[in-house]
Symmetry: C2
Subunit: 362 residues, 2 copies
């Protein structure tokens, strides 16, 4: 990987495989995240792919299995650009780990999220070319990266329901922000599944398999499932658990930073809010007293059903220590729960509690 | 209205117009709510309609305005049955009113919800027969009931986006649970908009109007909008506020009753959970200690994307006073907030805080 693909400002949680978050003060500086600052969430070493020899396989419950070169994808299919926010299901896990430890998990702050304009081929166009069999209900994506998960070695694989796969927003992307997809962001080709947890947007895509059932991969059957607080990993019934697809409503404060010392008086706050499944963010509220009283933030202009909304607010802070809070509502009037503790789950997914930071006002 | 249409067990909040809730112990006894026990939420006196003279008008941005008799609706269009839960946006308002009063509002308990099998004509079939103009973006339903709202007299009118109106689940219903629609439930014809707040399912439907913008009615422009806690009605900017369409995730305990005295030992709890927009309920958790520890409830078998799920759980209760809690997750991992206070809004909509009751264990 080119060193230019990784900004030294990233917060590195793990070197190999690379897992790194975007610094919060940079995250909300612009609507799209610079590719070099985009969060990296990997289960395996980044594979090396010869782009000339590369072929995408479309197999399984199809009438005509396909092997497509990058040129064929570009020449024979329509090209679309969709701006979409990706968010890891483990975003904000650190706050859950503070409630009760999770050995071996990465302590993501609110930094496992980013937005880019993705250009590529609508997945449904490729599926239509292959001809989807009546038996197909799910679409499994397999990357060229090979992971060791739960003691098994497997290519990173994740599936989505066919209904979602046929929607216009789901892409096979070869460009990010108008330039070739960077190596570490999944080149030469990755899935982009807007509105879903990041794991469904498989990078270094090698194979698309149509099948009757969800993937049997460890990632699909064990990971990225939400269990209740009272269940420990050792006792989990893997046939149960909420299979994480659509994202819940969430928000975070990017500025000021947690623990910052700021001057008394008018204090600007900024952050992001995101909802899944194509639902818009309807409102973001902020509080300077831990949620006793609220001010409504301004939603900045850009944004679509598939992206976050950045927001700003101004609060007047007297001197002392204050807990600043943000919470969002989506257009279905779903909002964020108050505390992280009741959201605890052994894998640390989907923490969308009110985002709380402390500032010391001088 | 026939007296047989109203069960004396209903909790009457207002006689005229009739507003009444279903007793909680009856609500969760069966998957579908008996029509005579279905909650009644009215803004106006129930109109008297001559079914023989009745015509449904389809007007506005259409190629061919239609006037359809009930016979024509039955004979010339396909018939569908959809089981759907309706829930008023004011369900559980009483808990918000306990935080801060709301003069003039009806203090609904968790009783403004019910489920039925609705039979009628898919709305899209009627819209296709009329021919939707390119300019149309919204579909306004006007009832034959006439209300006095905010000092204005207007026929009860509410609109939904055209995209929703064209979906297969939206019906013009003339039957409820296999029998003619009862008078008080909207006969001869009502809209059924599954997954949306109840107000969009206009009863005693007289007119369907295709138009470029949402309805200008008081109900659309002032009521059924969600404002933040810090905004009082007198200062509301009516151009803002979240227009309530899809329902947020919610749940309630139906048994035991709040304040009940129960015997120590195994205690069965039952209740309902509902999510909007076609999202399934993924899980319901219950607690006997105010939410410190949890047990996962059993979701009963029946249910679809457009209905509630009934649930049961068994808790072992020692003697003393206990706070029992229920909370649900939907399939997008949205869950309920803990407390009602931060959800307070001047009109008292969309309270989906954890449902809490107190029982005295003897």
């Amino acid at each position: 990987m080119l060193s230019s693909e990784i900004d030294p400002a990233l917060t590195v949680y793990q070197e190999e495989p690379l897992n790194a978050g975007t610094p919060l003060d940079r995250l909300c500086q612009r609507f799209t995240t610079p590719p070099s600052l985009f969060y990296a969430r990997n289960h395996a070493p980044i594979p090396v792919i010869d782009q000339d020899a590369y072929r995408l396989s479309v197999v399984g419950d199809v009438n005509t299995p396909l092997q497509l070169s990058l040129d064929e994808l570009r020449r024979n299919f329509p090209q679309e650009t969709i701006t979409a926010t990706l968010q890891c299901a483990g975003n904000r896990r650190a706050e859950l780990m503070a409630v009760k430890p999770m050995p071996g998990q990465l302590p993501w702050q609110a930094d496992a999220i980013g937005t880019a304009a993705w250009t590529g081929v609508p997945l449904h166009a490729v599926l239509q070319a292959a001809g989807v069999s009546d038996s197909a209900r799910h679409v499994a994506f397999t990357g060229r990266d090979v992971a060791r998960l739960e003691g098994q070695v497997e290519a990173v694989t994740s599936s989505i329901p066919l209904d979602k796969a046929m929607r216009p927003e789901v892409l096979l992307a070869y460009e990010m922000d108008g330039a070739p997809l960077p190596h570490r962001n999944g080149a030469p080709l990755r899935a982009i599944v807007p509105g879903y947890v990041g794991i469904r947007s498989i990078k270094w895509l090698g194979e698309i398999r149509l099948q009757a059932a969800p993937s049997e991969s460890v990632i699909q059957t064990h990971d990225y499932k939400l269990f209740p607080p009272q269940v420990e990993k050792e006792e989990a019934d893997w046939d149960t658990g909420l299979v994480l697809d659509e994202l819940s409503v969430n928000s975070a404060i990017c500025n000021p930073a947690d623990g910052a010392a700021v001057a008394a008086g008018a204090q600007r706050m900024s952050g992001y809010a995101m909802a899944g499944g194509g639902r818009d963010i309807a409102r973001v509220d902020v509080s300077a007293d831990g949620g006793a009283t609220w001010t409504t933030a301004d939603l900045l202009d850009e944004g679509s059903a598939w992206t976050w909304r950045l927001w700003q607010a101004e609060l007047n802070l007297p001197s002392g220590s204050h807990q600043l809070v943000a919470r969002a509502y989506d257009e279905a009037a779903n909002t964020q729960p108050e505390q992280a503790a009741p959201l605890w789950n052994f894998a640390g997914y989907m923490n969308n509690a009110w985002h709380r930071i402390t500032v010391n006002v001088l």
